[in-house]
Amino acid sequence: MKNRVVITGLGVVAPNGVGLEAFTKAIKTGTSGITFHQELQDKGFSCCIGGIPEVSEEKKLAYLTPLQLRGFNSTSILYGCMAAIDAWKDAGFLVDENSNLDYDSGLIFGTGTSGIEKFRESIYLIDEQKVRRLGSTSVVQTMASGISAYLGGILGFGNQVTTNSSACTTGTEALLLGFERIKNGKAKRMLVGSSSDSSLYTWGGFDAMRVMTYKHNETPEKGSRPMSETASGFVPGSGAGALVLESLESALARNATIYAEVLGGNINSGGQRNSGTLTAPNPEAVQKCISDALLDSKIKASEIDVLNGHLTATSKDGLEIENWSNALQRKGTNFPYINSLKSMVGHCLAAAGAIESVASVLQIKEQFIFPNINCEDIHPEITALISSDKIPTKMIEKNINIVAKASFGFGDVNACVIFKKYIQ
């Protein structure tokens, strides 16, 4: 007997909203979190805009102790802790440093790199022959699993506590790894999510690859244009998203609020074969990932109401729509509604899957479809496949039963998850 898995808590730190309430409002109203950043221009970036969540010093102290913040220089750990602690409290749990060790709760919290600014600081000290000046703070902030190490201690979890990493698929992968663990009876609750640093050192390599837009430095909010004919590359973002997954049995036993059910999903790779490369997806594998997610969830393609795409605003958006259309065997007016959160927050890289999953689940809980901004000029490649009515530019209030969310990442890796409204 496999466990059913539901979502009982959410937390988010996004460029257009910090905290669930602000974020929900922002995505309903189509509010952009993209702004101009002088330091990017000063360092000679072509793309000088990005999405950075606003977090005051006072706010940091609501999540981390003054000792934890001493010598602290890792936004990915900060955002991850904030989103995860919020999600855990939202699920109805207390955060108490003296709580009993909880062997039934674990966490899988992903990242691309951890604390890249701290890494830079440490490298400079070492090169100046001051290695001893690193003190005790360098390792825990720069190890990939820094985020899960911080959270494991703050929350006192005794089940699996780990970090996953699969580029822009990371957050969605974390969710599915946690889902499997509960489904198979290895844990009652898994806090899952992912985070990414706000740092020019994270973003620089992408700027060099010419995959970020350089055409909107004067019009930041217009820069992130998924599905638009004038899309010219992605806008870098950052932040974190977190979800509390729980066995239905456990959630019902404690009378928890249920946001949605995770029906199933799939994680695969295109093996960098069949036109897939280190940086481009193998279309066959993407379609198989989506089809297998439907099989795993025991639903038909026709049951899907809304797709939350990966859709980054590079030249690959048309291919993604084609992949969805082929996998679902749905096109034109029969295609589900589709949206991309990246139009508002940019591409939050390793954090994207988690922040976008939070947005996907909110749509089910509050029964709306958030708007796509900046795609008043939909790319003809896309309108050739699907009806433009299916790409809402204003929020739609609608009964939504099933949302499919997919993420794709460098390394030719894919993940697709299916969320369903929970009805008692």
């Binding site: 003054p66 000792l67 001893r132 003190g135 005790s136």
Partner: protein, 83 residues
């Protein structure tokens, strides 16, 4: 610098790291960093770096290993200052 002045300075340095308020309030020369103040052993290196900054001295590896109590810290600081 008198012993009292030195203790006041040391007290300010260890304050961010202590996890036992009561022991910190009653800090004397006999207070042990780990057993009494419950300072996380990983943070001892940070305490030592802060001591170096405050007194503009450098504490070598051998001395670092001995710096586990207020008394040992005071001896090492005085020794380095007079060197």
């Amino acid at each position: 610098m008198t012993k009292e002045e030195l203790i006041i300075k040391l007290k300010a340095i260890v304050k961010p790291y202590i996890q036992d308020e009561e022991a910190f309030k009653n800090l004397t020369e006999e207070t042990d960093f780990i057993n009494d103040l419950k300072i996380n052993s990983a943070n001892l290196v940070d305490v030592i770096l802060d001591v170096e900054d405050e007194f503009n001295i450098e504490i070598d590896n051998d001395s670092m290993e001995k710096m586990l109590s207020v008394k040992a810290a005071m001896q090492i600081i005085e020794e380095k200052l007079s060197a």
